[in-house]
Symmetry: C2
């Protein structure tokens, strides 16, 4: 099956070059910030890099712990402000059901997104499926509701983990 373009970020193959993966994400972020005149400061860049340290959601305080080990004086606002910036510009997403953050697979594309969360390996796949978004929007509209934001998070097992049995 050929990848559909509404899969923004698939589950990563079991062995992939994650260093390269991070580099790509940072490059895309720098590109975007250059294009839009945004300031991807060293701190913000580093926080983005830490969010991308895995393909799973990362908690703010995990990031804080990492930061503290490299610079003195990092505090919760240090992290949350950087996360706010990254979120405002669609470089990361917040996973509401986990109180955690995940890198956006395609910062150039404006999207809300749907997330598949593997409860076994912790990886996240990101979709931007017009069928899903459309069905939700249509149903809401039929009830007179005006949609601002859709939060769609599906938890379960990714293909690799489901295959492995329990």
């Amino acid at each position: 099956m050929t990848p559909r373009d509404d899969v923004i970020a698939p589950f990563p193959p079991k062995s992939h070059d994650h260093v390269h993966c991070i580099e790509e994400a940072l490059d895309a972020a720098e590109q975007k910030c250059r294009d839009e005149g945004l300031r991807l400061t060293p701190l913000r860049r580093r926080v983005l890099e830490l969010v991308w340290s895995s393909h799973g959601p990362v908690g703010a305080y995990e990031i804080l712990d990492s930061l503290r080990s490299e610079r003195t004086g990092a505090a919760p606002p240090t992290v949350y402000r950087a996360l706010d910036f990254l979120r405002d510009h669609d470089l990361i997403h917040r996973i509401e059901s986990l109180n955690a953050f995940v890198g956006c697979g395609d910062p150039a594309r404006r999207h809300g997104g749907q997330f598949l969360l593997c409860s076994q390996c912790g990886a996240v796949a990101e979709l931007d499926d017009p069928d899903i978004a459309g069905t939700v929007a249509r149903r809401a509209r039929a009830l007179g509701f005006t949609v601002d934001r859709q939060t769609i998070e599906v938890s379960g097992r990714c293909g690799a983990c489901a295959g492995k049995g329990s």
Copy 2:
């Protein structure tokens, strides 16, 4: 338009008999607990009643404040344990994007549910739309993902609030 049965709880009409509404919810809960041999203790019943005090999501600590004014010694675990029980038996739902709880409109029916959250009046409508759930499930399955739980929360404006302009 005649109500569809996948609307589990609509936005409440601007002036409805909320006392009656709470009574109905508590009756349904008692019915269910009787049927299934569950213990709806006075504490749990009271917490459910407090969750139903409005049609909007209620925070755990709001409930705690109310409890403290009526019984001495209420503490966070008092509330969270009751909420856990109510959740385990589908008497309430947790709204992940708000860290808050809302009464379930139909405890007899097993369902995950989708929620429309009005950011203006705070009311919640609950759906159990097979189109939405099906579209999500189908798409996830196509990616080899096994779905356990869908979290679908849509924020925006309900019909009444959208009508009122700003």
